[in-house]
Symmetry: C2
Subunit: 211 residues, 2 copies
């Protein structure tokens, strides 16, 4: 990896982490993966990243055990890149970084993050203030804020406008069948409806509060 030569002399977990995710685009790829992006082409159009760079990043992240490449259909062989636990564990870091960016450089709020179970907006550490717990990543619901463009050009941004849970597979092609939900085997009335389920919770939006 590019940074290894120099960062290796740093005896520091931060430097070690940056060797893995510190290159350009890498954290944005992981962010997109948290948002549900899984396919090469979706990363490509959403990030506007050069193809060669994206291929290199996906390969490196797979080699580091942050993404997992897996085939989701055979007939025309198609692969998707899914976050592993190691990748999902970066959520607090990205949450923290995004919060810092908004507080110090953002003019208006672009996205809300709420606890899907109760609709309460997450605190700075990804906790639900009402439930007094750290919200598991699949239970974080993402919704567009007032500052977000309501009519983006690319289909991935368009698909991300609907309120949705983190990690929920993004479907930009309606013909593609939704393969069984990897997470949330929870029973309470929350069926494997995917996008439709998240949209049905839009009535809770009034409960969100600005920080």
């Amino acid at each position: 990896m590019a940074l290894g030569k120099d960062y290796a002399t740093q005896e520091c977990s931060i430097a070690r982490a940056l060797e893995v995710v510190g290159e350009r685009w890498t954290l944005l790829v992981i962010r997109d993966a948290l948002y549900g992006v899984r396919r090469y082409n979706d990363f490509l159009v959403h990030l506007g990243i050069p193809r060669a760079v994206l291929a290199a990043r996906l390969q490196a992240l797979t080699a580091e055990g942050i993404l997992e490449k897996r085939r989701y259909q055979e007939s025309p062989p198609r692969d998707e890149y899914v976050l592993t636990d190691r990748g999902i564990a970066l959520w607090p870091t990205l949450r923290s970084l995004g919060l810092w960016g908004r507080e110090h450089f953002g003019e208006s709020r672009l996205r809300w993050f709420r606890h899907a179970d109760c609709g309460t907006e997450l605190g700075p550490y990804g906790e639900c203030p009402r439930c007094a717990m750290i919200v598991p990543v699949p239970d974080v619901e993402m919704a567009p804020g007032p500052g977000l463009d309501r009519d983006p050009a690319d289909p991935v941004s368009r698909a991300l406008l609907a309120p949705r849970r983190l990690l929920e597979p993004l479907d930009t092609d309606p013909r593609r069948p939704v393969d069984g939900h990897p997470q949330e085997p929870e029973g309470g009335g929350r069926g494997p409806g995917g996008v439709a389920d998240a949209a049905s919770g839009s009535g809770r939006s009034a409960e969100g509060r600005p920080v």
Copy 2:
């Protein structure tokens, strides 16, 4: 800044943040600043960063309001770079990133971070489990762990071996007069009553916040 052209199209606070701190070396400079490094030469020898790159990073960080360049002596004019509140606010992000690096790629523990008031090790979000509060950055005490090299080559790493609070100015030159900051004799056992300084009390905005 280098990444602005492409990241600007990303409507995302994470991308915004990465425009500011996403370039190579930048987060390591901020990490060192949190550890108490303040002088050009100390950054240089500790990071092993090319001089031109360090100068560019320090200038950019100063322009972004993350560092503040200030003169600490006149006779030979000498400047130091000190973290602003905006820079200190990156502590949770760096803490989170370092934790991820250690848990997933670190073989042994390199540093401890404790609540200086009670000696309890910090939790994953920078909180003190015993006091049930987010520990203000100047009250975080850093101590070397078992995996850290006990006899490093450069004087900055050597100075960082002593247990010390974050933001406490590092002094690699014993002749340098300490301006208003009580200086810690090396190797000293330390108690909760110690150092009460840390740069005009910045970073205490979250003091006592329950978690």
